[in-house]
Symmetry: C2
């Protein structure tokens, strides 16, 4: 097994949405195609990967460091004892001569390639990735995955009626739980928005997300006001690395919280569990493999969860992409974020999948099945069609 070429492209995922922290008007994304010399069912095995939204493309790190390391490696260093491409070994190769700490951007770049490597690996075995992961874990994959509709962004000129229309649309699509942004306006107008949203989704079905904007005082004043709404969860109140804020929130708020999308290594995740005061019977963890060194690192993070007494069912990854969908079903996590219609063509699932009662079924194509999403396939053809047959 040899990797014969790796192609890389930067794509726009710009939109006019805005959370409490940033707008997405110039958001970009890296996409890679990892080409192998393996032929399965008459077709050359190519793995595809991309990074999750909210961070920018990692093109510089991919081109300068990670892709050359993979291409220059002795091919035997990328293959496991079973003769297949081994993403764990590829991970060690990619991280050669990288210092510890500083987990950002590089973690995105590794995540992009890790996704493509797992896609290729599962295609070599002609099975969906979730099946491969379940087999390795000696379990049956979940037959469907709980998903919730993330949206409720601040758009220019969007009023409360617009928010309600958006959530009505998500219910029509089959979702029951929806998430909205808070923290870009004041508490009083956010409460108005929340009350309007609850009229559509119903009590117990609304998540709110402050995107790490709040200081301790604001975290707690929102917590006091939010209690009455019995939210599904209150997400990322304070800075992702200010574990004291998270711990204070746990003390003050006896309903579910969620965080973790901006922690990009097992070391950072471990610090959240050590110091953040989160409750394994109540709270949710949202680490996103496609921002945090990929599935190889995610296994380490899941080991740490186990060590600290957390069930994988408490993990609902950020990002709304198909890589997490496979991990959730294959390893038995709690569910997956979904951004209906946003961050296209990277967000969302294969075209043949349906959401019913907030559960989505699973693709049957080998690998990730990314090529079975028409707009993703069209992007691949435009980006790499001159080099490879898609």
């Amino acid at each position: 097994m040899r990797i014969t070429a790796i192609y890389e492209s930067v794509e726009s995922i710009a939109s006019d949405i805005q959370n409490a922290y940033i707008n997405f008007s110039k958001m970009t994304c890296s996409v890679v195609a990892v080409v192998t010399d393996q032929i399965v069912d008459g077709k050359q095995v190519v793995g595809y990967g991309f990074n999750s939204n909210g961070r920018y493309n990692a093109s510089g790190i991919l081109k300068d460091r990670l892709i050359p390391r993979l291409l220059e490696a002795d091919p035997s260093h990328l293959v496991g004892d079973d003769g297949y491409l081994d993403p764990h070994k590829a991970w060690d190769t990619m991280m050669t001569n990288e210092k510890p700490g500083g987990h950002g951007e590089r973690s995105v770049a590794v995540g992009v390639l890790d996704m493509a490597l797992w896609d290729a690996r599962a295609k070599m075995q002609s099975i969906p990735l979730y099946q491969l992961l379940a087999d390795r874990a000696n379990r049956e994959p979940d037959s469907k995955v709980w998903v919730y509709a993330a949206g409720g962004y601040y758009y220019p000129g969007k009023d409360i009626a617009g928010l309600q229309d958006e959530f009505r649309h998500y219910l029509d699509l089959g979702y029951t739980v929806c998430k909205m942004k808070i923290g870009a306006s004041d508490l009083s107008s956010d409460c108005d928005r929340i009350e309007a949203a609850l009229k559509i989704v119903g009590e117990g079905n609304l998540c709110v997300d402050a995107n790490g904007r709040f200081d301790l005082e604001t975290t707690l004043s929102y917590a006091a006001a939010l209690k009455q709404y019995h939210l599904f969860w209150y997400e990322e109140a304070g800075d992702p690395l200010d574990f004291e804020i998270q711990a204070a929130l746990s003390d003050a708020y006896d309903l579910p919280t969620a965080t973790g999308e901006n922690l990009f290594s097992h070391q950072d995740a471990r610090n959240l569990l050590r110091y953040g005061g989160m409750r394994p019977d109540l709270d949710y963890l949202q680490f996103d493999c496609a921002l945090s060194y990929g599935l190889v690192e995610y296994y380490r993070t899941l080991d740490i969860l186990h060590e600290y007494g957390w069930s994988p069912r408490r993990v609902v990854p950020h990002g709304g992409h198909q890589m997490s969908l496979h991990i959730v079903a294959g390893l038995g996590l709690g569910g997956n974020e979904s951004y209906p219609g946003v961050f296209q063509p990277f967000g969302g699932f294969s075209d043949e999948l349906d959401v019913e009662q907030s559960f989505v079924n699973l693709p049957s194509a080998p690998g990730l099945g990314l090529e079975n999403k028409a707009n993703f396939r069209a992007m691949l053809v435009e980006a790499f069609g001159n080099q490879i047959t898609i």
Copy 2:
């Protein structure tokens, strides 16, 4: 005041040295020139910046995100009330639409530009940067700065006599305290190397650095063995984000430790102080502005040190570069790392400076004085000589 252009180049700082974690055979560095429309003493003000060693160039992030944001900004958003270029305002501009958390690589890119912006700012006032910083802090700058010679790397084929020769050379250059790497061989051979080094530098004058390689058990077994040597400090035993290892080391080892070079934000630094069990009367902190969002962020980190009861004199930045030299003298930190002859032309100080009894004097040129280091100046001319007069 307008920034009229920003030029960026990637330079090699490759060498055949090796620590316990990485080798430096492909190490690179970003360099920028920030060109302004200001003329001082008949010369156009240009600020220069680069990143510190150990992390790679940040070219992708510079070109894709940070440089466009600075060039597209309304010039008034980069100028302070005093009419001068304001690096704090420029920092906010650079970090627009960047999510919280994930402090790596981006922190390097901001550090590169921050250095150039401070260089330009001090040149506009025709004073050395340390004088500008001291003025802003209402203090007199230190007239000299304590420095130590960092080296003692594992080279291919280097034996104990080679290590001793290297340290003899540092003593000849005027240093009294020297640092060597440990952790790439076993404890017994590291002890042999340490004993050989002590014969040259003398008890109390040797630092050792494990570069974050050790797990808890190895950290403590080294600690037990190192006690007898009365080292100047025992640096970065465990992973930089594993604060439990650092705390366990503090409990087990009653001599000075040092860490922090791989923490790249004030939030990460705060977590070290909160959870790492470090002792303000004994230990050293090594945050490096040129890897961690520059001086603007460093001010925030110093505020946190104050809040947690730490004197700035306990801070001895990593990196051996001239930006930290100015910060140390201007703000009264404890000292600065120095890599005699390594990481050229970025390491080291202006050619006119001398080290005596491990103290270095300060440059008198406006700004950072980088152009007064002949090999740095030659690199600038090669990188940017076609665009600007250096």
